[in-house]
Subunit: 364 residues, 2 copies
């Protein structure tokens, strides 16, 4: 029953995580008549501002999780760094968990994720698992990793837990710098650009992708997304096809994002998957105004077991710029700029590197 | 200071009333980084689902009002049937109240409203105040009121507190039927259609109106709004001009709606004001998808002291149909209809005559 449950207006979605993704999910759920309850540890939780109820508790508080599970009709998570044990515990309470625990478990571990992609015939950059200094020393001797990036297997986001390395660098220092945590070493790819696909798979197996989006990062953090991406139609189609293959392999229900490196140009253009996110994604924020259905409404529709909405783009070009740290101070100029749409996350403190909001611009 | 206070992201707006208007105001406030707290008596309060905090208390609970006033940066109200004493008490707490107490007091009393309109040279249907049976008997003898409508001065909405009368009807029975409350008798107008203007005036005195909207009522309740209204450009301009005159007379800050009867056709087309609402209005719901700025975002901008947003229409025609009572059961068909946008208010019980949601359709 749990696996096929469809929500109806008045039902409640429990969201693990209280950040801006949960906030925008809750805003999108409201017009569909669905309530959101947020579960998050103490802190600055912008989703609390737009939720029907909130639980402030640790992700390992079994009692609080059990009570939360009993008051909601469905459970989802806003990001993949929620412990999978938390989600598994909630799943045992009887409420469906969408997207499922499998997608969460695999996407929160870079080694599992890369192995999963390889199993499904999806190309990634050369990589090797690193569990100790000896493994790192050996890998750095391989010319494939002459320029490489060491990433912790778990709990990395926005460039955290990552270190760029070159052949001959001191493996002991490098491994210490990432906290001696299980890691992967990835060969640096000479990519031409980065793109992503944000797509949804419904409870009925339907699949719908938004347009491929081109992403520019700055210091490891997404700075700007532009839709559509400047890639060949064949590449855009291939990217959507890979997202679909991944969604089907997971028997996924919800919105997911796949980030790609684009290597080569024109007829030589090809794709390597960088990473998967089992959730709405920063590179899909442009869909709020820029697509017929926003990624947030689409995610709610998918997990609720409702039909997916149309994903057409509403303007020739849509750009989304993150407002990071002090950049949020530009809000007074943005609210008077014709065609600009401010999304202020209402966070209390504008720390450097912190995503404080974004602005979307539609160009005819 | 209070009169000129401008909010900044992170500030909190206190809203009196917990219905769908407050709900849609709170949803619109979030992307601007503004929090909403709701104050409402116990009951089904759909705005509670999307608010940062809620106070459940009576409108005459002075202690609860005082505490509420101290936790918010600004106070507004979602509808004009909030007692003006409540708003006046809150105003004395120091937080600015927008729109002001004057607009509230006048628009919640049909006799004061009509006198105010007359003072500002705005045409209304013939009317007379009715305080007792004798006054009603005398008025019904006047041929002007051969077909008339008796309305309580206060607390009427959606056709409640109203009674249609003809010459010769029993004044005692009629006055009893509306509860022997102070009333007005209005001559029935042979109008061709009904239109409304939803407009905003900013703290800086700027004025911006949405397109004139044509409204069809059913049993005293708005059934459908269509933008733009099928009236001459001269009439549409005159309607916006009247809304502006009213807004300026009130030194209004916020969104207001003016409902008109349109009498005659073509060059003979003329306007009579039916009533004023000092708030966002059901006939402006089409602006959520249909205009560059929604009436809800515009209201938040105006009361926050921010510049008004652009009001251009986004499609050739926009229609908004209310989903009243059991009509809400159509939601599964609406969520799969291309170009249709569901707004489900999340109310628990679909009683007859109750506004449960609406659906907006854009037509190129």
């Amino acid at each position: 029953v749990s696996a096929t449950r469809r929500l109806k207006p008045g039902d409640t979605i429990g969201i693990l995580g209280g950040g801006q993704l949960a906030r925008m999910l809750a805003i999108a759920a409201a017009p569909l008549g669905l309530r959101c309850q947020i579960y998050a540890p103490a802190g600055d939780n912008p989703a609390f501002d737009v939720a029907a109820a909130r639980t402030i508790a640790a992700y390992d508080d079994a009692g609080a999780l059990a009570r939360f599970g009993q008051t909601v009709d469905l459970i989802t998570y806003e990001f993949e760094n929620v412990p999978d044990a938390t989600v598994a515990l909630l799943a045992s309470s009887g409420a469906p968990v969408r997207p499922g625990v499998m997608a969460l478990r695999i996407s929160q571990d870079r080694a599992l994720e890369k192995a999963f992609l390889a199993e499904h015939g999806v190309a990634v950059a050369p990589w090797t698992p690193i569990d100790d200094v000896a493994a790192l020393t050996a890998a750095l001797a391989d010319p494939v990793f002459a320029r490489a990036i060491l990433k912790t297997r778990r709990f990395g986001y926005d460039g955290k837990g990552q270190l760029r390395l070159r052949a001959g660098e001191n493996a002991t220092h490098a491994f210490a710098a990432i906290g001696r945590a299980p890691a992967v070493l990835e060969a640096m790819v000479d990519f031409r650009t980065e793109i992503s696909i944000v797509a949804a798979r419904g409870l009925d197996g339907a699949f719908a992708a938004f347009d491929a989006t081109e992403n520019r990062h700055d210091g490891g953090i997404l700075a700007r997304s532009t839709a559509p991406a400047a890639v060949t139609p064949r590449t855009a189609e291939a990217a959507a096809g890979i997202a679909r293959r991944i969604a089907e392999a997971f028997q996924y229900v919800g919105v997911l994002a796949v980030e790609f490196f684009v290597v080569g140009e024109g007829a030589d253009e090809r794709l390597l998957v960088n990473e998967i996110a089992p959730r709405v994604h920063n590179s899909g924020h442009w869909t709020i105004e820029g697509a017929e259905t926003s990624q947030f409404a689409q995610a709610i529709r998918a997990i609720a077991g409702w039909p997916l909405g149309p994903t057409g783009r509403r303007a020739a070009t849509v750009t989304m710029d993150n407002l990071i740290g002090d950049a949020i101070a530009a809000w007074p100029a943005i609210v008077v700029e014709p065609g600009a749409h401010l999304h202020h996350y209402g966070k209390a403190e504008a720390r450097p590197g912190r995503k404080m909001g974004h602005v979307t611009r539609l160009k005819a």
